[in-house]
Symmetry: C2
Subunit: 431 residues, 2 copies
């Protein structure tokens, strides 16, 4: 397996500083911005081939990380997310080919017009420039972010979790080598190594870095948001609710509540809370609680839901105030009975993280109020919260799910990695 | 003139804190988000009528600020920007009627599709929620920001300069009174008063405030960018260049250089730098320098431009390194001779603030390289830098000119004050 980085361009130190990385990334980004779609797609396929060819090295490097993780007592779920098998390396490489098949966002004319004075103005999509990604254990993010960056014409500075250190180093080395063999700037992607102080440097490299996207737990995201002077897109925390309205189709409601909670628990678009209209307390609540319990879900109930569980002999515990604001990311769910739609809206307003909220109802007016009044990136009517996803939305890729309102909200893919530029063409016009 | 604020809604202190203002603004924003275009336009016209009706009070309050400014030795230019005459109050009110005539950005469907599984997804424009504006002397910004906020369904917290304190208080009182008489939430607009510590509170009210837009000098903007944990849109610093290419039409070049520099000097889209291709050093440079000198422009020249000025007997001084990075906002200009387009691009890359850059050329290839390679909000070919403006671009209004890449770049109007929400409608779909 490679033991050292391919040479960084320019005059870089053995372990490059943030300023050096950012400066080399800026130079690379200027070349990336001029590449045709054909060149970028060929490069993405070359990167994929290189990863395929280096599967043994990647799996070996990953085994080091996994062994270290186990020695340090890493939880099984995290070990699984960290692990790259041969099949998973193939999937990671294939994702780059999928990105190659997507349309190029760069150069799209967003809008334009000819002004009364004859000036022709158009707003054109262009790359951001240099994008920093700060993320945790999953090494596939390293390749996804590098690939989406390349396709959108951006240089990326990758800061993965220390748990995946060897894996990430090998993945980036392989991809940089493939860029070099394509005659492309290797500094289009670089791994930022070092302690927490280099992250702080990255977060304050305003002007050198155009955008930072954090992906990970609430703690990581909070640190980035608080410390960064570089513009940030906040992603990911999802304290999602499913509200079952009085006018719900109860079979749909049961399926949606179960799917939203249990389809995959460690993800931001999983539901953490179930709100049930009190008209359904006798008829539906015992049924949904039994189904959730049967799926292994620990139930945190308010007094009314607890009383229904009690009568049906379903294990449960009283929800604390913290439960309503907790993203369990586990087989746990907070359940409350609400007197009406207003109370459901007020509860969601008080506890939403602005990710995804769902209503189950056959009542048009209730659905309309819910979609209008809930303030979140995605609002579902009669659908699982799990659909808030770039792949499900048909974007073909996803760099993260924005829970903030600036620039991007909801699943982010290639266009969200671009900005725009106004090009104004005249014939000597003055004011 | 009103001596106190109309009562703030809810249980607010006599001088409301940031948290109280933001909380009342949030409540108001929820009502604003549901208003129809007709309701908002009627409110805007009512605000305009109320301002017209209070002209005497406004002019009197403004006279206090102007007198205090003069006592404190305020420069004439700033006094002029601070001053509201009866005509200017009429113009400020009329701007609200203009905003009423603009289309409503809220509710626009940006994109949407029906997925293979039958889910109907659509991305809909919705208000940001609560927007903070931090700005300096010009009191018309108070009314523009309040009006654009109302039209886009946002509550705004206004933090004007202390120099315009009495004027802003009167303007906001009058507008809040008009909102109240329309049955609308008065907290749709509020003035934040107090010392620097309340600004700090506003900048860290993440979650309570959705967006902060600073407008003013470089110092103000730097403070906001550095201290804010609320998402910020950086506006305004414009170190703009006009590059006269070897293939320029020299009459156009002369007119564009003069207009970009002298049409209005205290604004961000005025040019501060002139770059001239060396092929034009004998033929064009003396002519443009003479014209600039004739218009009263102090010339800061590099050695080559200085030598041309010397020979033509035109007053000039040697440019320092700082000159190339200085936004003069005055009748001053830095002038350099460049050997070719590459050198012009490199100079601009080194010194641009990312606002507006212009090339004058009849050479298609040069124009194409310039528009592709210059990294700025707006790139002009054969047109004055002064055209980077929401009004000129046909937006009908402008809340500021973004020089950052996230969310908005260039002139910002109503759509830039909104975010989007994904609405997903299904029939029981699960994953």
């Amino acid at each position: 397996m490679p033991s050292a980085h391919p040479t960084y361009a320019g005059s870089m130190s053995a372990v490059p500083t943030v300023a050096e990385l950012a400066s080399c990334a800026r130079v690379a980004s200027r070349r990336l911005a001029l590449l045709s779609r054909a060149d970028k797609d060929a490069a993405l396929r070359a990167l994929a081939d290189a990863l395929d060819g280096a599967t043994a090295d990647i799996v070996a490097a990953n085994a080091e990380d996994v062994a270290r993780g186990r020695d340090n007592g890493m939880a099984d779920g995290l070990v699984d997310r960290l692990t790259l098998t041969e099949d998973r390396v193939a999937a990671v490489a294939e994702a780059l080919r999928d990105i190659a098949a997507l349309p190029d966002p760069v150069g799209e004319i967003v809008r334009g017009s000819t002004l009364a004075n004859g000036l022709q103005i158009r707003q054109v999509r262009v790359p951001m420039g240099v994008v920093g990604m700060i993320y945790e254990a999953r090494p596939n993010v390293t390749v996804d972010a590098a690939g989406l960056g390349l396709k959108s014409g951006n240089a990326v500075i990758l800061r993965g979790g220390s748990a995946a250190e060897s894996t990430n180093r090998t993945l980036v080395d392989v991809m940089r080598g493939a860029l070099e063999s394509q005659g492309l700037p290797v500094d289009a992607m670089a791994l930022l190594e070092g302690g927490r102080e280099v992250v702080k440097e990255l977060l304050t490299a305003r002007g050198q870095v155009d955008l930072i996207i954090p992906r990970g737990g609430a703690g990581l995201i909070q640190t980035v948001v608080t410390e960064s002077t570089v513009p940030v897109i906040e992603t990911g925390v999802g304290n999602c609710h499913v509200y079952v309205d009085a006018a719900a189709d109860l079979d749909k409601a049961l399926a949606i509540a179960l799917n939203s909670k249990t389809h995959r628990v460690g993800v931001c678009n999983a539901a953490e809370n179930l709100l049930v209209h009190e008209a359904l307390a006798d008829q539906f609540l015992p049924r949904v609680l039994a189904a959730l319990d049967g799926a292994g879900v620990v139930l945190h109930t308010d007094p009314a839901a607890g009383s229904a569980a009690e009568q049906a002999g379903i294990p449960h515990q009283l929800a604390t105030e913290e439960d309503w604001d907790t993203e369990y990311l586990a087989l746990e769910m907070a359940v409350a009975v609400v007197p009406d739609l207003d109370a459901a809206l007020a509860h969601i307003q008080a506890h939403t993280s602005g990710h995804t909220e769902a209503i189950v109802t056959e009542d048009r007016a209730a659905a309309r109020r819910f979609t209008t009044e809930v303030d979140a990136a995605a609002v579902m009517v009669n659908a699982s919260t799990r659909f808030t996803d770039g792949g499900e939305f048909g974007f073909g890729a996803e760099i993260g799910i924005s829970t903030q309102k600036l620039h991007a909200r909801g699943p982010m893919a290639l266009p969200e990695l671009t900005t725009t530029k106004w090009i104004v063409e005249g014939d000597g016009q003055i004011r």
